[in-house]
């Protein structure tokens, strides 16, 4: 018999350490800046609930680069737009988009891009708020080759190859890191 604890610990693999994560956030913010300077028609939308933890970091970094008042930042909950509500019920979070997205460049921010279904739902939800000029996607982790929709990110923290059985965990707060379980 394989000792359980040993195998569990053995299988946890760090993808991004705390210091790498800080650098990645910085880089992504700069890449977004590079494309969108002077940021007059660009807005950031974080996906509830976990994408917002990441978009908060991106926005904090962007605020060091441009005037904070100039940055429009919203949060989007996609619960009611999911295609799997008949399978599992999710608790809804708050959508908070206090500005018009009409004719804006919208950057959707989420932590992990996997099947693409969340982003598909996010696009549906977003379009109910208006007609953006362009929509881009920024993710911290891209699980490559596992897409179920033709969706890809414009800004990627780290692209990784994974098995379906594996899980990517993004931790924020004190022990910031991304691990593969």
């Amino acid at each position: 018999m394989i000792p359980c604890n040993f195998s569990k610990n053995f299988l946890v693999k760090t993808i991004l350490s705390q210091s790498q994560m800080a650098l990645t956030v910085k880089r992504l913010a700069h890449q977004i800046m590079e494309t969108h300077v002077p940021f007059t028609d660009t807005v950031i939308i974080g996906i509830q609930p976990r994408g917002v933890l990441f978009s908060d970091k991106i926005v904090a970094e962007l605020k060091t680069l441009i005037a904070p008042a100039q940055l429009l930042y919203g949060k989007l909950d996609i619960t009611f737009y999911r295609d799997d509500i008949r399978k599992e019920l999710h608790v809804a979070n708050k959508t908070d988009i206090h500005f018009s997205i009409e004719n804006k460049n919208v950057i959707i921010v989420d932590d992990v891009l996997y099947t693409g279904r969340t982003i598909r739902a996010a696009l549906d939800a977003l379009l109910d708020f208006g007609r953006p000029k362009k929509v881009e996607l920024c993710v911290l982790i891209d699980r490559r080759f596992s897409r179920e929709f033709p969706i890809q990110s414009n800004y990627t923290g780290r692209a990784i190859d994974t098995f379906v059985s594996e899980k990517v965990k993004v931790n924020w707060g004190e022990n910031e890191e991304v691990v593969l379980v």
Binding site: F80, Y81, I85, R86, K87
Partner: protein, 308 residues
């Protein structure tokens, strides 16, 4: 997170977690209703039948709007003009409708317990939109939502329920809900319209002096005098009722404090509520109606059939 029940037959068999889940989901739907596109695709694969064996304006429109704003397909059934008028039984009617692949039933019926009976015989979720003098759960939920919106929380809130308690399913559902959520209740109205054992059954206080009650409460939920359910007269005249238990501007001004006025509708103006109160600044009657759609969206969303 899921509701503990498959049907919404009444507040009686809901847990406080259920109630909190419905109210918080309703808050999300209220946000949806403020958007430019007041619609989400959540129930686009669900068909719902609205069975109304009894008249309704608000509840029926509210349910139908809630269903449409969740992208569900809806069919409406009213007893007049249907085969029920030819003598078809309730169960036959429902089974015939269900054989056309309907996924959920919303029902109002003049017989207390009709949805409970139905729930034992059909496999799909049932939402009680009012059954006789038993319960009207979505009304109690939207009342709770409106009170919560105004006061922040229900715990410790002082609620007066005024009027025809005997025939009121709204009063029943409200009492169950408010008790579960920790609010305080006083019942008032003519003694002939208050059931005898209500104090013991619901653990509520009964007080016959309207002014005393109004002075005590934060919210007055004023009920409609249900003339259609009274086989014998239980008070001498509507005018006398208005003098003894009608809420008017004069009595509100004499309280020396502000209280919130609620009414489930339809109002008998000049009987239980005078127009200057119903349309006055303390009335949240139209907010109740507005919140009704969001609350019913939450109930439908949470009960919609799931595969596992």
């Amino acid at each position: 997170m899921e509701l503990s029940t498959k049907h919404l037959l009444g507040i009686k068999n809901l847990t406080t977690e259920d109630i909190n889940l419905i109210l918080s989901t309703a808050a999300n739907f209220k946000d949806v209703l403020q958007r430019p596109v007041k619609k989400v695709p959540s129930l686009r694969d669900v068909t719902i039948v609205n069975l109304f064996y009894e008249n309704s304006t608000r509840t029926r429109i509210s349910f139908e709007l809630a269903e449409k704003r969740l992208s569900a397909d809806t069919v409406n059934f009213a007893v007049s003009g249907s085969s029920a008028a030819k003598g078809e039984t309730l169960l036959d009617t429902v089974n015939n409708i269900l054989s056309m692949k309907v996924d959920m039933v919303v029902m109002r019926h003049s017989a207390s317990g009709a949805p409970h009976f139905l729930s034992k015989h059909i496999p799909v979720p049932i939402i009680n939109a009012g059954d006789g003098i038993n319960e009207h759960p979505t009304q109690a939920l939207l009342d709770a939502f409106s009170m919560k919106e105004k006061f922040g929380e229900l715990k410790g809130l002082k609620v007066a329920i005024i009027g025809d308690i005997l025939h009121s399913r709204v009063a029943m559902s409200n009492m169950y809900l408010l008790k579960k959520m920790g609010a305080e209740i006083i019942i008032t109205g003519p003694p002939t319209l208050i059931p005898k054992y209500i104090e013991e059954t619901f653990n509520v206080k009964v007080e016959y002096n309207l002014k005393k009650v109004l002075q005590w409460c934060d919210v007055a939920n004023v009920l409609r005098i249900q003339l259609e359910r009274q086989n014998q007269p239980l008070f001498s005249s509507l005018r006398e009722y208005n003098i003894a238990y009608g809420i008017n501007k004069k009595i509100l001004e004499s309280l020396g404090k502000e209280i919130t006025i609620m009414h489930p509708g339809p109002i008998n103006r000049g009987v239980e509520l005078d127009s200057d109160v119903a349309d006055g600044p303390f009335s949240i009657i139209l907010n109740q109606v507005e919140n009704g759609v969001a609350v019913r969206m939450a109930v439908l969303y949470l009960l919609a059939n799931r595969e596992n």
